[in-house]
């Protein structure tokens, strides 16, 4: 923990410019609950349904991918959990009981990504090979991969297609179901426009998907004919090996295709790319003190990001460009111990050719609680936000006022049940 802290200490000093201070009127997360259960770094969060806590034990090594798998069985739909681990096994869990329902253990390589094709009631695992499985964990078909890096990301495309990110290329496979319900996988296209390794692959809407590369390229693709619709190279001078670029989209449901933004996190910066104008409309070069690990677009104007620096930050895309970034009002200087002045040179205005209608990304609040990097977060709407971190903790952030109201309701309900005090 100390090591972590010192690390943050250093990184913290780098950019005090982003300290929002303690007055955060827009931050409604005024209550938190620490969930202790993990004994190691928590990396993935998947919402199953409501809050529940169940310990699933089985994998001997770190879990590399996790997804939920909802299978419509007549009127009842049952959600189960599929996990992939670097112990080269895949498991299916029943979250209700906590039992491991199915396991495949003797895989040739560890699975790095999972994709569920609910329409076909199959799921795809990607690692060094691409495998298609049915609900009973039976291998339907598989394809060896040519690259040694393996598949790092998978998305579903229309017409039973699957896009897989393999090194610098995006490979499109088509899944065909023959009449005897056997499946076959065929590579139908290769997109090799990225200069660097493809890190992120997301669906934007029914007809669009986007990919991001390590070098900071963001390419918008047509999902049907795989044409490049937009290209943006987010310049990022220090391309350290350890850094990564991630690109996230707001709406998980493609039906709400009105979303016009793609949020790209490059290093510690955040960039909002407008699909309509095909430009970056707002950005914050140093949004965090350290690399951004997970982002989410909450609405067209609100977004959230978490980072290795241990904080979750909430942002708002504002129309009025402010002359400068907000100064830190109340940074407490009681213990200023040798603030290092080796400020890394501010990134030069490489994005100088910004369109005139650029908007700003305003920090509206931050959540500080974890003592390690915040790996991921999951939003539960008004119920709160769950964050997980390398400090082995999960923190549930809630709206204190709402919780207080709920408790009050519970109190009067109990009062009534008890028939008085």
């Amino acid at each position: 923990i100390c090591r972590f802290m010192l690390k943050y200490l250093n990184s913290h000093n780098k950019s005090p410019v982003l300290c929002i201070g303690e007055e955060q009127p827009k931050n409604w997360f005024t209550e938190l609950q620490v969930l202790k259960g993990h004994f190691d770094i928590v990396r993935f969060l998947v919402q199953i349904d409501d809050f529940r806590l169940q310990e699933l034990r089985g994998h001997s090594q770190q879990i590399t991918a996790m997804t939920t798998f909802t299978c419509e069985n007549g009127p009842t739909s049952h959600t189960s959990l599929i996990t992939a681990s670097s112990d080269r096994s895949l498991s299916l869990w029943d979250p209700d009981t906590g039992n491991r329902v199915q396991t495949i253990s003797d895989l040739q390589s560890s699975v790095k990504c999972l994709l569920v094709l609910e329409r076909l009631c199959v799921w795809v695992s990607g690692g060094e090979e691409l495998c298609v499985w049915n609900t009973d964990f039976q291998l339907q078909c598989q394809r060896q991969n040519q690259s040694d890096t393996g598949i790092t990301a998978l998305i579903e495309l229309p017409k039973n297609c699957v896009a897989a990110a393999v090194d610098k290329e995006i490979v499109i496979y088509r899944l065909t179901v023959s009449t005897d319900s056997s499946m076959s996988l065929a590579e139908i296209h290769r997109l090799s426009d990225h200069q660097d390794r493809v890190r992120a692959l997301i669906n934007v809407s029914d007809g669009l998907f986007a990919s991001g590369s390590h070098a900071g390229e963001l390419i918008l693709w047509d999902a049907i004919d795989w044409n490049i619709l937009g290209y943006e190279h987010i310049l990022w001078e220090e391309s350290q090996a350890c850094s990564q670029a991630e690109i996230r989209l707001a709406a998980p449901k493609p039906s709400e295709s009105v979303h016009s933004h793609i949020l790209a996190a490059v290093g510690s910066g955040l960039y909002v790319y407008s699909i309509r104008t095909k430009t970056v409309v707002a950005y914050k070069k140093v949004a965090h003190d350290s690399n951004v690990l997970h982002t989410m677009l909450l609405s067209d104007s609100e977004l959230m990001s978490c980072s290795e620096d241990g904080s979750v930050r909430m942002w708002e895309i504002q129309d009025l460009p402010l002359p400068g970034e907000p100064a830190s009002p109340g940074f407490f200087g009681m213990w200023t111990f040798g603030r290092s002045n080796k400020q890394t040179g501010l990134p030069s205005k490489k994005v100088a050719d910004v369109p005139p209608h650029i908007r700003t990304l305003e920090l509206t609040g931050d959540l500080i609680g974890h003592s390690g990097a915040v790996q991921m977060f999951a939003s539960f709407g008004e119920n709160g936000l769950l964050t997980c971190s390398t400090d082995h903790l999960l923190i549930l952030w809630k709206n204190g006022e709402r919780q207080s109201h709920l408790r009050s309701l519970a109190l009067f309900q109990k009062l009534e049940e008890n028939g008085g005090l």
Binding site: L32, V34, G369, Q403, H405, L411
Partner: protein, 901 residues
């Protein structure tokens, strides 16, 4: 013999029955007189006593050396000072002696044991300045004259009034102790008898053999002097055997005799079975008994511990110690403590916030107070009293199971034991002389009983006449007529029945001669009550609460009767009340807590400044006198080491593993006062604590930090039984989990990498905490502009004493807690009144209530909201207690400012 001791007469008249005193007023003697009289030095009365503290004295009237003191509780020589215990023993032992007839009564062949009931007197020695409640009892000893040895236990105090006013409770407590001793004694006596019997039987067989030998030797020897002597001896032994068997039968029938002592409690040992099973096995080797009786003066008499089985003796001493502890302090203190407890019991919902835990006290009282009421605890004493091996209870049932097996020694003739068992019933039915004795005693008890209940106003001097006249009207009216509680009774009757229901059980069986044991009375009483409340309310609960009333009011019985009167008006509507209010209340004193009363005033008036200082001070919260006058031995806390001496240990009572005692909290009051006077920003710090913002006390010196934490811990709402929400000293960086758990943290300031990471955690979590830097005397916290805390955190306060400040604090905090309670449970402040109302309307109403009716500003409201939140959590999860409140951690995002001294 010493001349008649000046037995203190009860001066109390019945005049209090007519007056209807104000239930809120303190008894006159406790209030500060407006115009102190010239010669009214309150200590004048007791100043000439030769001892400093009350103590308990156990004395014996030894048949060898006369009255002698055996032990004092507490057992320290300094307790009695120069007080002459020998002389005082002489005085108290010479008061009683009941004419207990032992020996061969006319018309009976065998010696009779008299089941002597205890007697209770109050006497004083004005010259010595000593007054005593004296409890006489007799124990059986086979070797003693008449098989009895008189003892007495006395509660000696310099304050006559204290004895008089606490008479009832003293009597109950000592009856307990006495009963415990006697139960042990009966066991020991029965054992001794069995041994003696076997000796005798053995002797008998030896003699018979000798006689047989003589008979064989020839007829000429039959009439020799030696033979005659042998024959006489044999006859004597035979007679002795019969006598002893009869004694054994009598002692075993003890529990079947009617009890006349109104205050009698019975005693039983819980783990009797295994215990006895193990003990009885090793068989006793009988010894030959010499023909000559060994009654001579040089033989050693058994000690008290030997007389009553050691475990019983120890239990008794424990009981007496507890008694001594519970009677410490002067009357005013005792009175206010009781009031306070009674009031706090009514505020169970909010007690966890600022009051020290009552739960322990309750258990404590369960063990000690409950058996006082000979009637009420038939229901629940088994579960409650399981921890101590000795159980005091009113029902003699179990003893049947216990004691008869004792004589059932396989070695002794079983026919005899059967016979004795069969004879059990007869033994008290037959109008034997021993019964006569009992009757006399019963009625003399009666006299004392009424004497104690301030009805007759007779002194002991006239007791003899009373005995005579009581005898004549011994056939009492049916007790049930008195005991049947009538909810519509007028005050007098209510009072009558409550104060007398215990007493009336005495001597009630003279009328029909049917032995009605106390238990039967109890069950009848309960039955009647149950019948009555069945239809109305939850019977058991109601009954219990009803029965509990005499218990505690008894303690304050004579205190101008104001508690009685207070209870009476409420007793009338109670059956009609909805039953759901009952379970939470233990209506010990049927008074409304004054805090609520004030609150009501506040709300109806709607005045913005709700706290007049007087209102805050009136509430009797933990009134404690001088700490030094009550150095408790069992506390384990050295009272000479006050927080002011700077001792780390004394200053840091907090931490895991120990329940925070009132003593520690009082001591912290001194520290809190110093803090308030020393730091101008104390108010801000207190506000942080009260509004639930974690306060970190940062400092390099552990002692100083611990002292500060101990002082500030007083302001942590709901600190937990053992101060779980307070961490007095932490020397490693804290995490968010710690912030969730602790509301007050003492943090070590170190200059090392660990220190810097600690400082980092401070700055990282600075939004959740306030930091009090003890070294630089700074405080960093959100600004507080409220008025609420100005009263308790005025650094120009005139209060100089820590204990005074503590009380001041307590009253304010109690007031706050009451407001929070009201806020929490006021329906319309949280829920819409009609379906058309939106959440905004409710919120507006809530704000309006806080601001206009309670007159609280924003920051002050935060305090109330936090307290209310704690109450809510406590109410929703009372079982999990502190844990539940720890799982959620609320905060808000506000800017902090740095305060400097």
């Amino acid at each position: 013999m010493i001349g008649s001791p000046d037995v203190v007469a009860f001066t109390k008249e019945d005049e209090y029955g007519q007056t209807t005193p104000d239930p809120w007023a303190l008894p006159e003697e406790f209030s500060v007189p407006l115009h102190p009289l010239v010669d009214s030095n309150p200590w004048a009365k007791t100043s000439y006593a030769k001892f400093t503290k009350d103590f308990i004295l156990i004395s014996e009237f030894s048949e060898q050396v006369g009255p002698q003191p055996l032990l004092t509780i507490p057992d320290e020589p300094k307790v009695c000072g120069t007080f002459d215990l020998n002389y005082f023993s002489l005085r108290i032992m010479s008061v009683d002696y009941q004419a207990s007839f032992v020996g061969h009564p006319p018309g009976s062949g065998y010696p009779r044991l008299s089941f002597v009931e205890d007697s209770r007197v109050v006497l004083g020695d004005s010259k010595e300045g000593a007054f005593a409640y004296v409890h006489h009892l007799t124990l059986y000893d086979l070797e003693a004259r008449g098989f009895v040895r008189p003892f007495c236990m006395a509660y000696v105090s310099a304050d006559e009034r204290k004895i008089m006013l606490q008479f009832r409770e003293l009597s109950l407590r000592f009856s307990q102790a006495s009963e415990c001793l006697k139960a042990g004694n009966r066991r020991a006596f029965a054992k001794e008898l069995q041994r003696k019997l076997r000796d005798l039987e053995y002797t008998h067989s030896v003699l018979q053999r000798e006689e047989g030998l003589q008979r064989e030797a020839g007829p000429q020897c039959m009439y020799s002097a030696h033979a005659v002597e042998k024959a006489n001896e044999l006859a004597n032994v035979e007679k002795s055997i019969y006598e002893h068997r009869d004694l054994l039968r009598q002692i075993c029938s003890y529990h079947h005799r009617p009890r006349r002592d109104p205050h009698a409690v019975t005693c039983q040992k819980l783990d009797e079975g295994e215990d006895e099973g193990g003990k009885r096995r090793p068989s006793y080797t009988p010894q030959l008994i010499k023909a000559k009786s060994p009654k001579c003066f040089d033989k050693r008499l058994k000690t008290l511990a030997e007389l009553c089985d050691n475990t019983f003796y120890e239990a008794t001493v424990e009981l007496l110690k507890e008694t001594e502890r519970s009677f410490r302090g002067d009357l005013c203190y005792l009175h206010t403590r009781r009031l306070d407890k009674a009031l706090r019991r009514k505020q169970r919902m909010t007690n966890f916030l600022f009051e020290e835990d009552l739960g322990d006290d309750d258990e404590d009282e369960g063990g000690t107070l409950r058996p006082f009421c000979a009637v009420n605890h038939a229901v629940d004493n088994f579960t409650l009293l399981s921890p101590p091996p000795i159980v005091l209870g009113p029902e003699p049932l179990e003893l049947d199971a216990l004691e008869p097996p004792d004589p059932l020694d396989p070695a002794s003739g079983t026919s005899h034991t059967q016979e004795s068992e069969l004879g059990l019933v007869e033994s008290h039915l037959e109008s034997s002389p021993s019964d006569q004795t009992l009757e006399t005693q019963g009625s003399s008890e009666e006299t004392k009983g009424s004497f104690s209940s301030d009805k007759s106003g007779t002194g002991l001097a006239v007791r003899q006449q009373n005995v005579a006249c009581m005898k004549s009207d011994a056939p009492d009216p049916d007790p049930d007529s008195d005991l049947t509680p009538d909810p519509d009774h007028n005050i007098d009757l209510e009072r009558e029945s409550s104060s007398e229901e215990i007493e009336t059980t005495a001597g009630e069986d003279e009328g029909d001669g049917t032995p009605v044991s106390l238990l039967e009375v109890v069950s009848e009483l309960e039955a009647s009550r149950e019948d009555e409340c069945d239809g109305l309310t939850n019977g058991a609960c109601e009954m219990q609460s009803d029965l509990l009333v005499p218990l505690d009011t008894a303690c304050c019985m004579a205190q101008e009767g104001f508690l009685y009167e207070a209870s009476a008006p409420e007793a009338v509507p109670r059956p009609g009340q909805s039953s759901h209010l009952q379970p939470c209340q233990t209506p010990v004193v049927n008074q409304e807590p004054q805090a609520l009363l004030h609150l009501q005033d506040d709300y109806t008036v709607g005045s913005p400044s709700s706290q007049s200082p007087a209102a805050g001070l009136e509430l009797p919260v933990e009134l404690l006198g001088d700490a030094d006058s009550r150095t408790s031995v069992g506390d384990g806390f050295d009272c000479t080491m006050s927080a002011s001496t700077g001792s780390d240990r004394a200053a840091s009572p907090l931490g895991y593993g120990g329940v925070v005692t009132l003593r520690q909290r009082k001591k912290a009051g001194q520290g809190a006062l110093r803090f308030v006077r020393q730091y101008p920003f104390a108010m801000q710090a207190l506000w942080c604590l009260l509004s639930g913002r974690t306060l970190v006390v940062l400092g390099a010196d552990e002692g100083m930090v611990r002292r500060l934490v101990a002082a500030l811990a007083l302001f942590v709402p709901g600190p937990g039984k053992c101060g779980e929400k307070v961490q007095a000293w932490l020397s490693c960086p804290f995490t968010l989990t710690d912030l969730q758990r602790w509301k007050l943290i003492g943090l070590q300031r170190v200059a090392s990498p660990v220190g810097s990471s600690m400082l980092y955690s401070l700055s990282r979590y600075s939004r959740y905490i306030s930091i009090l830097d003890a070294d630089q005397k700074t405080l960093r916290c959100p600004s507080y502009r409220g008025q609420l805390l100005a009263k308790i955190a005025d650094h120009r306060t005139y209060i100089r004493r820590g204990s005074t400040f503590f009380l001041h604090l307590q009253s304010t905090l109690c007031h706050l807690a009451a407001k929070a309670f009201l806020f929490t449970f006021t329906h319309h402040l949280h829920l819409p009144v009609s379906s058309t109302e939106g959440p905004k309307v409710v919120e507006g109403r809530r704000l309006c209530f806080l601001q206009e009716q309670l007159g609280l500003g924003e920051e002050d409201s935060q305090i109330l909201l936090y307290l209310s939140q704690l109450i809510t959590q406590q109410y929703l999860q009372p079982a999990t207690g502190g844990r539940a409140s720890a799982t959620c951690f609320s905060f808000n995002y506000t800017t902090s400012v740095l305060y400097k001294i």
